[in-house]
Amino acid sequence: MKRLLTEAKLVLIGIPVAIWTLLPIYHMFLFSISTKEEAFSGELWPAHPTLRNFGVVFREQNYFLNHFWRQFANSLLIAVAVGAITLVVAAGAAFSISRLRTRGGRLVLNCALFTYFIPAAFLAVPMYKAMGTYGLLNTQWALILAMVTIASPYAIWVLKQASDKLPWELDEAARIDGASPLQLFRLVYLPLIAPSLVAVGTYALLLAWNEYLYAFLLLSNDKDITLPVALGHFLSADDSPWELLMTTGLIYALPPAAIYYAFKRYMVAGLTAGAVKS
């Protein structure tokens, strides 16, 4: 009897948690398979589910979707570039600070940590002005470099934590064998911290793919913007096709969710190691 009561309590917690979690996502899915009339009717399941919205989005048959594929490619390109550049910048810095014990490394690490803790929305204002000064405004390089700036501090921190755990005997053995610093870096160090590199690269990639604020500030041309900015544009009209907005949103949300679940093992380990060290 007491066991049954415990199970009942757990179910009573579990059901609201499931509804709370899934409702906005289910709502988005529901709109994507409904016609406009059915979407606005407030039913919990459409009488005639349809995939027509996806066809409209893929064929760019709406004013708001004129550059859908172009914007999708922009998002992808920028995310991949940010992931790759962040990996190069952060792996070099972490190796230098942790393994080569470069003078001033501690200071650089503190600068990186400080950057990590500046709320991104606050950094956005001076960043926008600086990008104007550099003549990068309205170019995709502005967004790529801004996202590398935001992603690399955490990346360096995670990679440095991972590097510190590697045994010193490895470096010594490599030096005795006459390896150059670059050989130590490429042949010993990078393979050993590969799991952390996966975590960090995925983190930077997702951060860039998901970013709205910086993309919306730094890019304005319809052919340059990323998908989230295009989604925001739907709000500019009162009679926006919300069923198409939700369809596009769903298509936009699927790749990062899939990547997140595929790399979850790395992500969770990286997050708990880096974000909160108790």
Binding site: L213, L235, A253
Partner: protein, 292 residues
């Protein structure tokens, strides 16, 4: 056996030192560090310095403090931090206890539970925005069907709209903090709980004397980090309410961007500088904690 060879290695590595010439190891150290240093100087130090220089006029602050939107934003930000974060962390603490319960279906639920964190925030926030649409949104339609009365105009009232923005923020970030606290709970040795149940401890006593003492440091760190991130949460407010109605639901993060869009950069920077007394102690705390 590597320790035998160690003195020779050290001598070789430090040989370049006294002659003030960099050994290849030190030179490569600088080369590999250089890209990040460049990123930091060009995209953090210079912009921040330039921004602070733009915010140097006392006149900007006089103008800012005279703007009623600023005062409202400060109040909203504080409510967001005090109510939003305490609510979020308390629920995360509770749910972390729920999710460490060993049941197959709870494992499956925990996989689903991460979804809000795993998907980008823009489409889901817009989805919630439409759910709260007074005429066409599903929330008011359900209210109408159940009670026959019209539901509230959710996003057209300052306090309801602000509460909804807080709920959006909690919806998005609750999974992350729950995961962190689950990791914290799993690190507590199981023998402690076994010993407690032998002694006949109640659920509350087990929490009070075992779980909480082990988790309190992690909980505090999480709350502080969450405060920093919440201060920078632009999306929850901007995409749900756009700062409206009548600029009444702005927080400092969206207010800075609002001034920037109005081409009042000095006010935008002044807004950020005004937030620094709140931000810097939190950042200092976190840096102390991570540097240990």
């Amino acid at each position: 056996m590597s320790t035998v060879a160690l003195p020779g290695v050290e001598a070789a590595a430090s040989a370049g030192g006294p002659r003030r010439r960099l050994s290849p190891w030190q030179a490569w150290g600088l080369v590999l560090l250089a890209p990040y240093v460049a990123v930091f100087l060009v995209f953090v130090l210079y912009p921040v310095g330039y921004g602070l220089w733009l915010a140097r006029h006392p006149q900007s602050y006089v103008q800012l403090f005279a703007d009623p939107v600023f005062a409202g934003s400060v109040v909203n930000t504080l409510i967001f931090l005090i109510v939003g974060i305490n609510l979020k962390m308390a629920v995360a603490l509770f749910l972390s206890g729920f999710f460490v319960t060993a049941r197959p279906w709870i494992r499956w639920l925990s996989v689903l539970f991460i979804l809000p964190w795993a998907v980008p925030s823009i489409p889901t926030i817009l989805s919630i925005r439409f759910m709260l649409n007074p005429e066409w949104g599903v929330v008011n339609q359900v209210i109408f069907r159940l009670t026959g009365a019209d539901g509230p105009n959710w996003l057209n009232d300052r306090w309801i709209a602000l509460s909804m923005a807080m709920l959006v923020h909690i919806w998005k970030s609750l999974p992350f903090w729950t995961m962190i606290l689950i990791a914290g709970r799993l690190a507590i040795p199981g023998e402690l709980y076994e010993a407690a149940s032998v002694d006949g401890a109640s659920v509350w006593q087990r929490f009070r004397f075992i779980t909480w003492p082990s988790l309190s440091t992690l909980y505090l760190t999480s709350a502080i980090l969450s405060m920093i991130w919440t201060l920078g949460d632009f999306n929850s407010v901007y995409l749900l309410t756009g700062g409206g109605p009548a600029d009444l639901t702005h927080v400092l993060a969206t207010l800075g961007i609002r001034y920037l869009r109005l081409d009042q950069v000095d006010l935008a920077m002044a807004t950020i500088v005004s937030a620094l007394p709140l931000v810097l102690p939190l950042v200092y705390f976190m840096m102390k904690r991570l540097s240990r």
